[in-house]
């Protein structure tokens, strides 16, 4: 039996105030970032979006290194797998050396290689959002997470 894992990230429609933490997206492909931005705007995601271009930068962000000194802990991290310098799997490997994060890491990638996905899960990925992502899929996915403020979009 496969038991559900890491359920604590998900929204339960709590009425309390929660500061809106940013959504960190690590992807080297500007087209994919554009699509992400458009999808987020369409469902009126209120959380700030922070885009970085590889695992190295995502790591710098989480460590609050220059130029990310004022970085806030993200509500969730979207992670491409194939990136220059530090790829997604390497980033996940680094994350494992850190204290367990209180945000989910979501693989944001196309799926050509099942082993890569399996590895990402083994290294702590919470779930995945496949490219190319459709608007409805994007909204359905994001609204499952707590700490995300958005409107349900009409299509």
């Amino acid at each position: 039996v496969n038991t559900p894992h890491e359920k604590n990230y998900h929204s339960e429609h709590s009425a309390g105030f929660m500061p809106l933490k940013p959504i960190l997206v690590a992807d080297d492909d500007v087209n994919d970032l554009d699509i992400f931005r458009v999808r987020a705007r369409k469902c009126e995601v209120k959380n700030p979006l922070v885009f970085v271009c590889d695992g190295d930068e995502a790591m710098a962000y989480l460590r609050k290194e220059t130029p990310f000194e004022s970085a806030e802990t993200p509500s969730m991290v979207f992670l491409d797998l194939k990136m220059p310098r530090m790829g997604g799997l390497q980033f996940l490997a680094w994350m494992r050396t850190q204290p367990k994060p209180d945000f989910p890491i979501i693989v944001f990638s196309s799926l050509h290689d099942l082993n890569q996905m399996r590895e990402a899960y083994q290294m702590g990925a919470h779930s995945f959002l496949l490219k190319p992502v459709e608007q409805r899929e994007f909204c359905d996915f994001l609204e499952k997470f707590k700490g995300i403020e958005m409107s349900r979009c009409s299509f």
Binding site: V1, P4, H10, I106, L111, Y121, H126, S127
Partner: protein, 133 residues
């Protein structure tokens, strides 16, 4: 929470399908079974599942045989069965549907399967679940 039975002899496929159904939130417990014979044994001894995902080509007892067996079980009447098979042969699709499969998904590339399962999840376990029989 609905219980889902996932019957497939390929471990990679079971990994992908169960992950897809749990992405990003689980729909319920997923029981993974790797062949038709074990699936029948499970269905004979355990409470009926709410949903069945079934492969066709499996050693020992095939998905077609499982479908035939299920047809003779009154307690399993109305449980939606969705076929996930690498076969896109119309004869297979037709045969599966005749034997009670509600839907048929052809195993193509991983991305397409994930999306098909996400769609399935939304339709069967989304905000407005259909009549589950």
């Amino acid at each position: 929470m609905p219980k889902i039975l996932l019957i497939d002899d390929c471990a990679d496929d079971r990994f992908l399908f169960s992950r897809s159904l749990q992405n990003p939130v689980s729909v319920g417990p997923i029981v993974e079974i790797e062949d038709g014979q074990k699936a029948i044994e499970y269905l004979q001894s355990e409470s009926p599942p709410d949903f069945i995902l079934l492969d066709l080509k499996m050693p020992l007892v095939s998905g077609f045989e499982v479908l035939e067996w299920i047809q003779g079980q009154p307690t399993l009447k109305g449980v939606p069965i969705v076929i996930l098979s690498s076969s896109s042969i119309p004869k297979d699709i037709e045969k599966a549907k005749k034997l009670g499969a509600r839907e048929y998904i052809v195993k193509e590339d991983y991305g397409a399967i994930c999306k098909a399962l996400a769609d399935l999840k939304a339709r069967y376990f989304g905000q407005a679940p259909p009549d589950m029989g």
